[in-house]
Amino acid sequence: MTEETPDTPSLAPFFEAAQNAPMEPSGGLLERIEADALAMMPTPDAPVAVRHRGIFAQVLECVGGWPAVSGLVAATAAGVWIGASPSVLVPDGVAVLLWHEAGVVTSDALEPLSGFDGLLVEG
């Protein structure tokens, strides 16, 4: 097994002595390793622990997860914004209520068509 070369003529007896030296692990080591093996052995049939989810996680799942929640939040924000600062083409609900109370409700205020639609109808 050991090739003798001009550079290494003296190693064979050392390798031979090392190969023949007993190299047995102690009984204690074997016992420890076997104990480790049994302790770490996977148990495929072991029941998997059931994890209870919180109420928030359950609600999240009901509405369709985070993407659905982000859509809901965006729609809500848009609704609030439109309600708080309506464009001129959208009837102002708050003003309608106020004028109605003050008795100055005009037909325009209750006009189901928007101002732009009205222009189109009237030509």
Partner: protein, 194 residues
């Protein structure tokens, strides 16, 4: 299903590891009995110290138990993987410890030999271990795998994750360095230059 320990002798390391991963305690015992001496021998030859070699052996085997559920049968040899893990653990341990002098290397234990022979062999093995300890890590690993474990160059190349020519180079350089260190001790250790 559990197979008796004797019947496990015909199974490959791979097959035993898969059985272990499926909860077969006899496979655990068979692997322990089969692989521990090999891992311990390799660690001992790299470290030259029984206590450290036992620690490394236990750690290497623990890593094997840990990886068992993910082991893919036929992809790699268990022994190749273990030699690699053992060598890496040994190298880590050697790097953490200060260098030892030749006299501080404990002699290996021996059994049924005459006292004179036993002492001489102890001295020879101790000297070789000390000289191996003075080599760079990769040279020591290659020389031990080739000349003490008896592995072929292709297997060593797989273990060390290098090419066969690099293995040859490491072994040649390692042996030259060993020859220089041990040359002065041949007469002390009972060898004659014939």
């Amino acid at each position: 299903m559990t197979v008796p320990l004797d019947a496990m002798n015909d199974l490959s390391d791979d097959a035993l590891l898969v059985r272990y991963a499926n909860g077969d305690s006899e496979a655990a015992r068979a692997l322990t009995a089969r692989l521990t001496p090999r891992v311990f021998g390799h660690a001992y030859r790299l470290l030259g110290n029984r206590h450290d070699a036992e620690d490394v052996t236990q750690e290497a085997m623990m890593r094997l138990w840990k990886i068992a559920p993910e082991w893919r049968q036929g992809e790699a040899q268990v022994s190749t993987w273990l030699y690699r893990v053992t060598a890496n653990l040994c190298i880590d341990r050697v790097r953490r410890k200060p260098a030892q002098s030749l006299d501080s290397i404990p002699d290996p234990e021996d059994g049924a030999q005459s006292v004179a022979e036993m002492l001489q062999n102890k001295a020879r093995v101790g000297a070789l271990h000390a000289a191996l300890g003075a080599l760079p890590d990769r040279q020591r690993q290659a020389v031990v795998l080739r000349h003490l474990e008896g592995l072929g160059n292709p297997e060593i190349a797989r273990i060390m994750n290098i090419g066969p020519r690099a293995v040859e180079s490491l072994i040649a350089r390692g042996k030259r360095a060993l020859a220089v260190v041990l040359a002065g001790r041949r007469k002390d250790l009972g060898y004659t230059d014939d």
